[in-house]
Every structure is written in structure tokens, then in C-alpha cells.
Symmetry: C2
Amino acid sequence: MDGTGSAQLIIAELRSGSRRALSKCLSLIESTRAEDRALAYEILEHCSSHTDGSWRIGCTGPPGVGKSTFIERIGMELLARGRRVAVLAVDPSSRRTGGSILGDKVRMPLLSTQSEAFVRPSPSKAMLGGAAPSTRDAIVICEAAGFDTIIIETVGVGQSETDVADLVDMFILLALANSGDDVQGIKRGIMEVADAVVITKSDVDESSVNRSAAILTGALRFMPQAEQDWSVPVMKCSSLTGQGADVVLQSIESFFGASRAERRVGRRRHQRGEWFDRALSAEIIARLTDVDAFRFECERMRHQCVSGLVAPSLAVHRLLGRVNITIKQESP
Amino acid sequence: MDGTGSAQLIIAELRSGSRRALSKCLSLIESTRAEDRALAYEILEHCSSHTDGSWRIGCTGPPGVGKSTFIERIGMELLARGRRVAVLAVDPSSRRTGGSILGDKVRMPLLSTQSEAFVRPSPSKAMLGGAAPSTRDAIVICEAAGFDTIIIETVGVGQSETDVADLVDMFILLALANSGDDVQGIKRGIMEVADAVVITKSDVDESSVNRSAAILTGALRFMPQAEQDWSVPVMKCSSLTGQGADVVLQSIESFFGASRAERRVGRRRHQRGEWFDRALSAEIIARLTDVDAFRFECERMRHQCVSGLVAPSLAVHRLLGRVNITIKQESP
């Protein structure tokens, strides 16, 4: 089939609200096949427009904190306020199987069946240069499909959480209260990139929830804030009873208020520059390691570095001694 | 002159303790000239050995916190304990002029004139991929020259501080007490990578120093720690009177104690892997942007990205469409 023709067909369907077209686009973006990538780039070419009015919200927290039920609860509230909600999951451990999609539907049974909502897992590729490069494009695609609220859910593995903060306008950290003098499973660096903190399952043990809220509030007071004109709130929410969800919604609406529009635009500009730099590095490395001989040599040199046998700069120098990079003056 | 011959000569001089050879090696490492780089790599080839017994200490803090006087004070104490101390400065704003070296000598008048110490500024190159890639090699060179304690000083600009944490075994954050309910100028993300916090100029205003110490201790208690078996101490020190320097020294000795040796080795292994990945990305990007046509196009595409005109992945795809990467099967 003619690539250009099929790209324009898919875009038209995407804009008209076709679920099938949306799923197809997201699959193309995640694909590693050359023809899929080519089509994906063509589609992206027609999607990149000014979407500064959309809300991009990230959600993270330790396993068991109840991210899915929280997102379902908040998602339903956002729908009730007239927003169109797409949920993308960044899950480094997931595999693209039928089971994973089924699993996702079971996880958000209410939200995934709403006409104005879309729930999809987006497997993150384990690439040099950070988690889920395809998630950036998936956001753009969802916005082109008319969704004005994109929620990115992350599972609590590795460095992916802080990477997700760089994908969104507002980053919400979910935390679990602990019976001890501590808050469960908060990862290094997360607190400082959070725009809001929500203690989930607030219906379970009220006194430890309150103690955890006080601890977190205290810690945040002496921590540099992500945004100068925004004081990071610590909220409590029960996704089961719905208690506290209204406060979380108010906080989200306030964060996306008109008075903060300029700062939001600035944050997105900065993010886009960062994305470009990372994508450039990741793509070049991907091209190189696509060649078996280079990949084996790269792994061998990296291992020698880690073992302390050779200095990193020397290892890289040797490795790149075999690489020849040329630049065409004009593309045909 | 024959490259191999001059490399072996310099290495011999370096090992025999020649200052001139050390300065020469550090200059070669920082040089961007191809023949200097080639010689630098040859020297590095002979330097990379097991230096797990050395102490690599990073020092950061806001401008005016007194990093130089603190390092001079601590450096003199370390000399008195029989250690050989090299001080490298990561200064993104410095220029390699005679003035910079002179400026540095004036800054640490005591330490720089000691026979067992070496003080040198090491200008950080503004490269994609992080601050001061040459500092990594400078550490290796100083260790080959027989220095067993390397202190890396950073000026408080941009992201360089957290990068420095990745260069060292122990990262010390210097802080200034403030008259308000706050501690001055602590940057985002720094607290969480600090292995020790020192409030400087503790002789000036004792009550605000004590209040700041309490605030920082409180903040650290609810912050994930850099190392699981190490509780980050908050100390007070006056570089003027020397008060508190002994406590700082004890803390350093305890951090480098035998019981923590295994963890230190693990941290270095991890760092070397990170260095390799970053050096690989940075070096490839450097090779590409060395070509004017590519650099201009890269800047143009990045600008389009930042403006929201084109998605980052698409911009990178277009940009790399003109790049041809080939890999030689065997180096000659």
C-alpha cells in the first residue's frame, strides 16, 4: 500500500474519533519494524500542532499503592467535568501480549468502557536514553485524537518515575501510610519532582495516614519545590469510598488554572528540548547497536570499564575508532 | 616526536612524581586537538589500574559558602594524616588562561604550596552528556601520579553538582545558615545525593547555624538516603577557626572505613558503567556536531522542537536521515 495514502487515511480516522485508528497509531509508534516507523513518522508529521491546552498528568507510586484504582477514580471525575481522558501506562516489565491488554481492561473496568475515555498500556522499551521514548509520541497521538487529558501511569521500577515527570505537566506521587515512623517505598528523587502527593487507601488506618501526611508535609517544607509558584499539597484519598477525591480534583484544576498558563508553556518548551537531546542520543546508539559486531564490542568494552580494566573515555575512543560517520549534504 | 615514545616518557615522569608531567597530562586530557587526544589516550592506557583504595571526595555548595577555604582546611588535615591530596575544580565558567591558574593558587594559598598536595582547576567543557567529562580522566591521572585523595570542587552552576556526585565516592554538600526559616541556596536533587552535609562559617551566627542544622537533619530523616548503611551526618565547621574540622575528618574516615569497602567498590563499578554510557553518547554527538552542516541543522531542528512545531522523535528521524553510519569489521 502507498505509505502517504495510508497515513492520511489513518489520520482522518484518528481525528474522527476512531478507536481502531488510535490503537493502530499507538502500535505503529511502538513498533520496531522500519515500515511501521516510516508510517508512524508520517502520521506524527500531521499531529504536531499546538496542544498547550491539554492536561498531561503523571502518576507514580510503589507497588500496591493503588495507582490503577486511583486513576480510575480521578479519571471518572474528570470525565464528569467534561474532559476526555486517555490513560497510557509505562510498564518496563510488560510484554505486548493479548494478556497485557486484557489485564489493563480488568484493572480499570469503569474507565475503559466509557466513550470519552481510552485506556491503554504502552510498553516501555529498554533503551539507552531513558524509559518509554514512545510514550512521548503516544501523548501527541492521543491529543491529535481529541483527548485533552492524558494520564501517564508508571510502575515503580528503576528510574522510570523521574523520567515520567519529564513527560507531563503535573506529576502526582501516590504514597502509602505506614504503621512505623516512615512512609512506604518512596524512591530517591521522587519527592523533589512531585507536584502533588496523595496518600491512598486513606480509609484503612486513619491515624497512620494522618501521621504520614504530617511527615511528608514536613519533609516537603524543607525541600526545594518543583515549581516556584506552586506549593506541593499533601492530600489523602480513598479510591474505595471516594473520600478525598474532590480535594485532589480541585488541586489538579488549580494547577492547570489560567494564572499558571505561562509557566506551563515554559515547562513544556524545556521538556521538548530535553526530549530532543535524549531522542538524538538514543537513536544514534540504537542505530549503532543494531549492528551485531558493534553491539558485541560495545558490551565487551563496557564490561571492561565496569571491571576497572580500562578508563571509560579510552574504551569509547577504541570502540568509536571503528565507526565511520558521514553526513549527506542534501537529502534527496 | 614519536607518540608512543613520548607517552612512555610522560608516564615515567608522572609516576616519579613530576608536577610538570602531571600538569602536562591534565592539559592533554582537556585538549580538543587530535594529536593531544591521541597522546592522552595512550597515557590513559597505562594509567587504568586498580585504584579502589583511593578516596574521591566531591564538594559542592552555593556561591559564597566557602568551598575553597573548606577544601584548604580539610586538605591540610588530610595531609597531616599522611594522605596525598589532589584538588580538581569543575568550573563551567572558567577559561583556560594563566589567570585561572593564578586565581586558583590565590584561592588555596596553603594547600597549593604543599609538597604532597596538588591544586588545579579543570575547566568543564559544555558538552551534551554532562559536565566535565575530562574530570573523570583527570581523576585517573592524579591517582596514577600517586595521589590517594582526590577532591573535586564544583561551582554552583546548573546541573553540574549532581553530575559530580557520580564522579566521587563521597559527596559533601556545603550549606550556609540563613537568618530565616530556611537554608540558603540548596539546589533541587542535591540533598538526596549528599553523603554528608556541612554548615560552613559556623563561627558567624551560632543560633542560626544550629537552627539550620536542625532543619537539615529533619529534612534528611524523611529523605531516602544515598547509601543504605550510612546515615548522612549534618556537621558544623568554621574554616576560619578550624572548629568542627575534626568532626568532618572523622566522618570522612568513617565513610572510607574498612567495613564499607565492599559497598564503595560496588558504587565505583556502577559509576564506571554510567561513565561509559555517557561518554559514548557524548562522543558520538560531538563527532556529529563537529560537522558544521550537521550542527546547524541540529540546532534548527531542536529549535523547531522547542517551539512545538515538530515532535522530537520526528525531528531526530529527519536529522539522522542524512547521517550515514558504517562500522569497519576490523581496525587496521
